[in-house]
């Protein structure tokens, strides 16, 4: 009896490594500390009423960003561990198994649990404000999306201390990710955690598509929307049509692993390559899901700080529409080398090169927007300016990889790793940092410190180049990805050492940014005008932080740079006197999303361990929450006029 319990516990908890025990202890301590602080300061009720049950898109956006920053930190620590291991030949900081786990969690966390939620956070905050709406189309569903993401992220991170981490790479190729070669629970964590957060992402896609199509302010035709909102419209379309394929792929892998089916096995006729095919059918559009929104952010930021209207607006939009179509027919370029027929490789080579055209067009649009602008070098603008050359390098090397015959040379080398980090860091990461600094005052009512922000930018951007520029050459010298160590004498040592220095530099840059966030929370400059950047779009027309109902009056729009036009009219004395307030119809808070996600977490955890006694009640709980929601009818309230007046007066908006 005692033996079986010991045996169970030693498999249940990850053991054998002092770093893991350290993590166990710190997770336990932090959890206890959080609970203690909440109880001591009697904050439970506040937490529940203001945050856990909220359906306000701005608060949901803030929660997304906090969670994404934490996940970004975790993924960054994974990266630093890998770079430490590879700094010199033959190191034994991590063994092969740990190295596999670390690169798997690094990739999965950075894409699914850091980049996407960060973008979801920014779009939650900015899109309704940019289009002049008071909330998203389905506020309740929005909360469900966030809590599903959160449940998935927590489930995934739990694998570090309970049961063991996945180790088959973020793309989890069969057959290695299958049950025969990977019998532990690690890959179960991968399929279930990613599935749970993926359902939330699909719901977000539908939510924002309907919001943007149906809830724009009067007069805001589609071709008068700010470019960020346009980019989210296109991103939502890609999410809606890419995620179902991933849902299916993950479900099939789950059924293979849990119930002995033969989709991706070698035995009984399964096809391991089918996994690669389905994974990348989602995986390639996913690249655009994390890139198009930052293209939108850069477009708005560059127009704002060049103090010019965006160059080639319609071309930008049509480029994105072209990308949305092409992104679904390029997926095979991720596995050119898996042995396809020549026509297949040729088709996907050409489609991949085609998709570079609309992307290139956008680069020129940003350059021409800068041309003859009054450029103001604020922190967000620095990120945007650095993006253009750094991202272009990633794009150009992508075209090199797009040629199927050449890809046989580059494939799975560090050249490839350098390429996608050039796009994902110089694109997505620069973009979300840019958006974070840009919209921070709108979220919290004060600005992040410019001086510290610029330090963080320069340290991070230079270190990024120190880390990833040499990586291209390392790849051409023959080092392949996912090697946990390498012998001396191949000439890889010095380059790897330089890259490690760069990686730690990026860590320092991130730390400066984190310090800036803490420092500015105490000393940050208040944004009293609501328009700290001399903005051009509607989110800057309201107070900072935005009131619960966003717009006391729904604005009427006549031009692309709606707020810029309003300011010009005001200067010319043509502004209309404001109409009297009316009560505002707003959705009620609900505890169902967080409870339902808790059930989802329980179900996911049960399935990870084949504990059906735990999984089935979890699933029943989810269904019960759905039914309970269907019977809720009184799900809105009105904000009375005197409360609107009080809020507007407190924000200095009433004279």
């Amino acid at each position: 009896m005692m033996d079986s319990i010991t045996n169970f516990l030693s498999h249940f908890f990850v053991t054998g490594d002092p770093m893991i025990y350290g993590a166990d202890a710190s997770i336990a301590l932090v959890s206890v500390a959080v609970l203690a602080v909440l109880t001591y300061f009697k904050k439970w009720k506040w937490l529940w009423n203001e945050w856990l049950t909220t359906v306000d898109h701005k608060k949901i956006g803030i929660m997304y960003i906090i969670a994404a920053l934490l996940m970004f930190f975790r993924g960054g620590v994974d990266a630093l561990m890998m770079r430490t291991q590879l700094a010199m030949p033959g190191l034994s900081f991590l063994n092969a198994e740990h190295y596999n786990q670390v690169f798997t969690t690094h990739g999965t966390i950075m894409i699914i649990f850091a980049a996407m939620p960060f973008i979801f956070g920014l779009m939650n905050i900015a899109v309704p404000l940019q289009i002049g709406a008071r909330d998203v189309a389905f506020p309740f569903l929005n909360a469900v999306s966030f809590w599903l993401f959160f449940a998935g992220a927590m489930l995934f991170n739990l694998s570090f201390v309970i049961g063991g981490s996945p180790d088959a790479g973020w793309s989890s190729y069969a057959p290695f990710a299958g049950i025969e070669l990977n019998p532990g629970v690690g890959q179960n964590y991968y399929v279930l955690a990613v599935q749970i957060s993926g359902i939330g992402s699909l719901a977000t896609g539908i939510n924002f598509l309907v919001t943007i199509l149906k809830m724009r302010a009067p007069g805001m035709k589609l071709f008068k929307m700010p470019m960020f909102s346009w980019s989210i419209l296109i991103t939502s379309v890609i999410i809606i049509f890419a995620f179902p394929a991933f849902t299916v792929a993950l479900a099939l892998m789950t059924i293979d692993r849990l119930f002995g089916a033969h989709f991706f096995t070698i035995a009984a006729g399964g096809s391991p390559m089918l996994w690669a095919n389905l994974f990348w059918f989602w995986g390639h559009p996913e690249v655009y899901i994390v890139l198009l929104p930052v293209f939108g952010i850069f477009s708005d930021v560059i127009a704002t700080f060049a103090h010019k209207t965006l160059f080639g607006y319609a071309v930008m939009v049509w480029s994105m529409i072209a990308i949305s179509f092409l992104s679904f027919i390029t997926w095979l370029h991720h596995f050119f080398t898996m042995g396809n027929t020549a026509p297949v490789n040729a088709f996907f080579s050409i489609s991949t090169m085609l998709i570079a055209i609309p992307t290139g067009v956008k680069i020129f649009n940003w350059l021409f927007t800068l041309n003859k602008g009054r450029i103001e070098f604020t922190t967000p603008m620095l990120w945007a300016l650095a993006f253009i050359p750094n991202f272009t390098i990633g794009g150009v090397t992508g075209v090199m990889l797009a040629m199927a015959p050449a890809d046989y040379q580059y494939h799975n080398s560090y050249f490839l790793v350098a390429h996608f980090h050039s796009t994902l860091i110089a694109g997505t990461v620069f973009g979300i940092f840019c958006g974070l600094h840009y919209w921070w005052p709108k979220m919290f009512g004060y600005l992040l410190d410019e001086k510290k922000g610029k330090w963080a930018f320069w340290v991070f951007m230079i270190s990024f180049n120190i880390c990833f520029m040499p990586m291209y050459f390392l790849g051409l010298m023959g080092m392949t990805r996912r090697m946990y160590t390498y012998p001396a004498g191949l000439g890889w040592g010095p380059i790897n050492f330089i890259m490690t220095i760069g990686a730690f530099g990026m860590g320092i840059g991130f730390a400066i940014m984190a310090y800036n966030i803490v420092w500015s929370a105490i000393h940050g400059k208040k944004d009293t005008t609501g328009d700290p950047w001399d903005g051009r779009t509607l989110e800057w027309s309201i107070a900072s932080p935005a009131p619960e109902y966003n717009f006391a009056h729904i604005p009427t729009v006549s031009t692309r740079d709606a707020f810029e036009t309003m300011k010009e009219e005001k200067r010319a004395g043509r502004a209309k006197p404001p109409a009297p307030f009316k009560p505002i119809h707003m959705p009620n808070n609900s505890g169902i999303p967080v409870i339902m996600s808790a059930f989802m977490f329980v179900a996911g955890f049960g399935f990870v361990f084949w504990w059906f006694w735990m999984a089935i009640p979890g699933v029943i709980g989810v269904i019960a929450c759905l039914i309970a929601r269907s019977f809720v009818y009184d799900d809105f309230h009105h904000i009375p006029v005197d409360e609107i007046e009080r809020t507007e007066r407190a924000a200095g908006r009433l004279s």
Binding site: F241, M273, L274, F328, T341
Partner: protein
């Protein structure tokens, strides 16, 4: 792009449900036609498959237009574009998967 386009809905709610009955009859006829072509082995394999797939697509459109009222709403162009894009992506995933893995079949 035509925005705010408004499709007036026919008000023929009274009387015999012709639209629904015709939809049902068409579905039944198409189903049995496909069955007859497939099971009767009237044609070689390739044309048979082409015909039954065409019949299925026709039947799907009957559901879409006669039962699902896809052209209704304040801005029906939205759901029409959505469904068309869905068809495009579904075609890409089915056709692409078969094409890529054809040599395994």
């Amino acid at each position: 792009m035509q925005e705010n386009e408004n499709q007036p809905v026919s008000r023929d709610h009274a009387g015999f449900p012709w639209k629904q009955v015709i939809g049902l009859l068409l579905s039944l006829v198409l189903t049995f036609l496909a069955l007859w072509i497939a099971v009767g082995h009237l044609l070689p394999v390739q044309p048979t498959i082409a015909i039954i797939v065409a019949l299925a697509i026709f039947q799907a459109f009957i559901q879409l237009f006669m039962f699902m009222h896809v052209t209704e709403g304040t801005e029906p162009v939205h759901q029409l574009i959505g469904i068309l894009f869905g068809i495009y992506v579904a075609f890409a995933v089915v056709g692409g998967t078969i094409w890529i893995l054809y040599y395994q079949m």
